[in-house]
C-alpha cells in the first residue's frame, strides 16, 4: 500500500519529466559535464595509484643508494658482503639503470641493464628478455616502439649513442605489452655488460643495491642498520615509496577537485535558479494537483523524485563518459596534468579500477549539493495554495 503510493508518484513524475524534457535537458547536460570532469579526475588518479601499487608490490623491500653532497651516485658492489651480514637480510643484488635522452624523439627513456635480476611481473607479449651477458640486444616498451620516427618492431635495430660518442646498435628482441604500461612503456632493457659500455661505468660499481628482507616487520630495523654502518648511504623503503606516490596522487586530484569547486558552485547556482524558476504552467499544475487531493508532502515527494531522476541520469551518463575517457581514450583531456613525469604516453592504457568508495565520494560532492540546492525551491512550489486554482 505505502509502496504503491510512492510508485504512483514516481510514475507521475517520470511522465511529467518526459512532457517537459526540454526544460531539464540543459541542467542534465551541465550536470553530466560536471560529473564527467570530477569522475575523470578521480578515476585517473585512482587507477594511476592502483598501477603504482601493483608494480611496487613485487619491488624490493629496500633499495640502498650511495649519496655524495646530497646527490645520488654510483655505489660500490662490495658493500653487498657487509649488508648481507645484517640479521634479517635474505639476499642482495646490484642494479644498473639510468635515463637516456633521445634528441631525435625528444623523449626521455629509462634504461635498465639486467644482471640476474629479471622483472618477473612484466609479461613480454612479443619476444624475450636479453640475457645478462648477451651483446647488442634489447627489449623495449611499446611507447618507444611507437614514438620513434620509424616504427620499431621485433627484428629491427635501435641505435643509442654511448658516453664516448660512439653509436651502439641493438637488435630488438622483445616488446613489452603489459597491464601496467605506465612503467614499461618508456623502458629499454639491455644486458648488464652493454649497460656498462653504453654509460662508461667503472668496474665494481652499480647504480644501487637492492636488499630483500624476508620478515616485513624487520624492514625498518635493517634500514636503520644499513644507515648506521654506511652513513653515506640512503636506504629507501618500499612502503615509503608507496606513501609518496599516494600522497602525490591524492594531493594532485584533491587539488584539481578543489580548483573545480568554483565550477561546482556555479553549477549549484544554476540548479537553484532552474528549480526556483517554475513556469506558470508548472505552477498551475501543482495547484491543480493540490486542489484535487494531493498533499504538500506528496508534491515534495514528486520534487524529490524529480531531483533524483535528474541527478541519477546525469550521474550515470557522466560516469560512463568518464570511464570511456579514462580507460578507452587514455585520459586524453588531462593526462599531462596528472601524469607529469612521463614523456611518453601516446598509448597510455590504464587498467580499469573503480569501486564503491569512488562512487560514494562522487555522490557526496555532486548529488548532495545539487539536491540541497533544490530543497527550498521544491518546498516553495509544494506549498502552493490549492485555493488559487479556484480563481483562474
Amino acid at each position: 500500500m505505502a509502496l504503491e503510493k510512492h510508485r504512483n508518484i514516481l510514475d507521475y513524475t517520470l511522465q511529467a519529466l518526459l512532457r517537459r524534457k526540454f526544460k531539464n535537458i540543459g541542467i542534465i547536460l551541465v550536470f553530466t559535464f560536471v560529473i564527467f570532469m570530477l569522475s575523470s579526475i578521480l578515476f585517473l588518479s585512482y587507477s594511476l595509484r592502483q598501477e603504482a601499487h601493483l608494480i611496487l608490490q613485487d619491488s624490493p623491500e629496500i633499495v640502498v643508494q650511495k649519496m655524495r653532497a646530497g646527490r645520488h651516485e654510483l655505489i660500490p658492489i662490495n658493500l653487498e658482503k657487509d649488508i648481507r651480514k645484517i640479521p634479517g637480510v635474505s639476499s642482495t643484488e646490484p642494479r644498473y639503470w639510468g635515463y637516456y635522452y633521445d634528441s631525435g624523439a625528444k623523449a626521455n627513456y629509462t634504461i635498465l641493464g639486467i644482471g640476474t635480476a629479471i622483472l618477473k611481473n612484466n609479461r613480454l607479449l612479443n619476444g624475450r628478455m636479453p640475457l645478462p651477458h648477451e651483446k647488442n640486444v634489447a627489449a623495449i616498451g611499446r611507447g618507444i616502439a611507437d614514438v620513434r620516427i620509424i616504427k620499431k618492431d621485433i627484428g629491427s635495430t635501435l641505435y643509442l649513442q654511448a658516453a664516448d660518442g660512439r653509436w651502439m646498435n641493438f637488435n630488438i628482441i622483445g616488446i613489452f605489452e603489459s597491464d601496467s604500461e605506465i612503467i614499461t612503456s618508456d623502458l629499454i632493457i639491455i644486458s648488464e655488460d652493454d649497460f656498462k659500455i653504453l654509460n662508461n661505468m667503472p668496474e665494481g660499481m652499480a647504480t644501487d643495491l637492492i636488499v630483500h628482507v624476508s620478515n616485513e616487520t624487520e624492514i625498518p630495523t635493517v634500514a636503520k642498520k644499513v644507515k648506521e654502518q654506511f652513513p653515506d648511504s640512503r636506504p629507501i623503503l618500499r612502503d615509503e615509496i608507496i606513501r609518496t606516490y599516494d600522497a602525490v596522487f591524492g594531493w594532485r586530484s584533491g587539488l584539481i577537485i578543489t580548483l573545480f569547486t568554483g565550477a561546482l558552485i556555479a553549477f549549484i547556482i544554476l540548479a537553484w535558479d532552474k528549480a526556483t524558476g517554475l513556469s506558470a504552467e508548472e505552477k498551475q499544475e501543482i495547484g491543480i494537483l493540490k486542489a484535487i487531493g494531493w498533499e504538500t508532502s506528496d508534491v515534495l515527494e514528486m520534487k524529490f523524485w524529480e531531483g533524483l531522476v535528474i541527478s541519477l541520469t546525469s550521474f550515470i551518463s557522466g560516469l560512463i563518459l568518464a570511464y570511456v575517457h579514462i580507460f578507452f581514450l587514455g585520459a586524453s583531456l588531462f593526462a599531462p596534468a596528472l601524469k607529469g613525469w612521463s614523456v611518453i604516453y601516446p598509448d597510455f592504457k590504464l587498467t580499469p579500477f573503480i569501486d564503491f568508495y569512488q562512487i560514494a565520494t562522487l555522490t557526496a560532492i555532486t548529488i548532495v549539493p545539487y539536491i540541497a540546492s533544490t530543497i527550498i525551491p521544491s518546498w516553495k512550489a509544494s506549498i502552493t495554495d490549492p485555493d488559487t486554482v479556484m480563481r483562474g
Binding site: 599516494d246 594531493w251 577537485i257 578543489t258 557526496a364 560532492i365 530543497i375
Partner: protein, 333 residues
Amino acid sequence: MILHPGVISLIIGSGIVLLLVMFASALGIKITRGWDIKSSSEEQLSFERKTYLISTLVQYALSFEILSIFLFIYTAEDIHTLLVGAMCATGSLNANSFGFPTLYVKVVAFFVSAAWIAINHLDNKAQDYPLIKIKYRLLIAVLAILIIEFILQLQYFLRINPNVITSCCGVMFSEKGKGLVSSLTAAPILPAEILFYSLLGIMIANGIAVHKTQKKSFTYLFSIFSFIFFIASVIAIISFISLYFYQLPTHHCPFDILQKEYYYAGYPLYAALFTGSFFGMMIGIIEPFKKIASMTPIILQAQRRWALYAIIGLIVFALIASAPMILLPFKLY
C-alpha cells in the same frame, strides 16, 4: 591537512548538511516563538507550511549522515597508506585523538536525527501538533551534534600528520595491549558468546512483551536493553564475531567486514544492528508522550509496530553474525 578527494567530499558534504540544519533550526525557533494552534492567522498558516520544509531538510540531512559514516570509514581506509604504521581504517583513525571521536559523534548524529524524524512522524499523525515544542528543541540538539561533528572531523583531517607513527588494529585490537579495547579482545570467547546470546534472548522476550502489552515498565526496560545491546554488539563484533568472518583467531577489526573480500557482509550486519537498536531505544523514548491525550493511541500503535521492527532487526543481525560460526569450518575452540 591532506588534500584527498574523500576528505574534500566529507568536508563539503558535512558543511552543506550543517547549513541546512542550521537553517531548519532557525526556522524551528521562529515557529516555536509564534506558534498558536488556535489562531487562523496567515502567520500561523505559514508556520505550519514551514514544518514541511524543516522535516524535508532533516530527512536529507539524515540520508547524508548515513552516507557519511561509510564515507568516513572508507576514507580512513583509503588514506592508511599515507600514514606510517597504519594498515587499515583503524590505524588512520588512530592517527590523532580526533579520529575515533569523530566516528562516535557520527553514529550519535545518525541516531539523533533518525529519532527526530521518528518523533516528527508521530507528531504528524496527531491533529493538534502536540510535540511541536519538543520537536524543535530536539532539533537544536541535532544541530549541536552536527556542529561538534563538523569541528571534530575538520580537526581530524587538519591534524593528520603523515609522519607520526600510529597504531593499527594489529596493536589496538591485540590481546597483549593495554587499555579497554585490548582487554575486550582478550576476554575469553566462550563466556562472551554465552553472554551475548543470553542478552539477545532477553531482548527478544522483552520485545515480544512490548509488542503484546506496551506496559510502561516493559517499554522503558526495552529501551535500556536496546542501548546496552547496541554497545554489547559492537564489543561482540570486535571480540569474536569478526574472528569468524575473517577466519583468523587474532583479527579483530570491526571495519574490514565492510570490504569486498568479506562480501560486504558488514553492511547488512550493521544496518540490521542499527535499525534494531534504534527502534528498540525509541520505544522507551516515546513512552512519556503517551500522557498526551491525542498521542495515546498513536504511541501505543507505534510501540507495537516498532517492537516488531526491533525484534526483526536484532534477529537479522544475530543471524548474519552467527552465519560464519555455523557455516564456515573455522572454529575457535
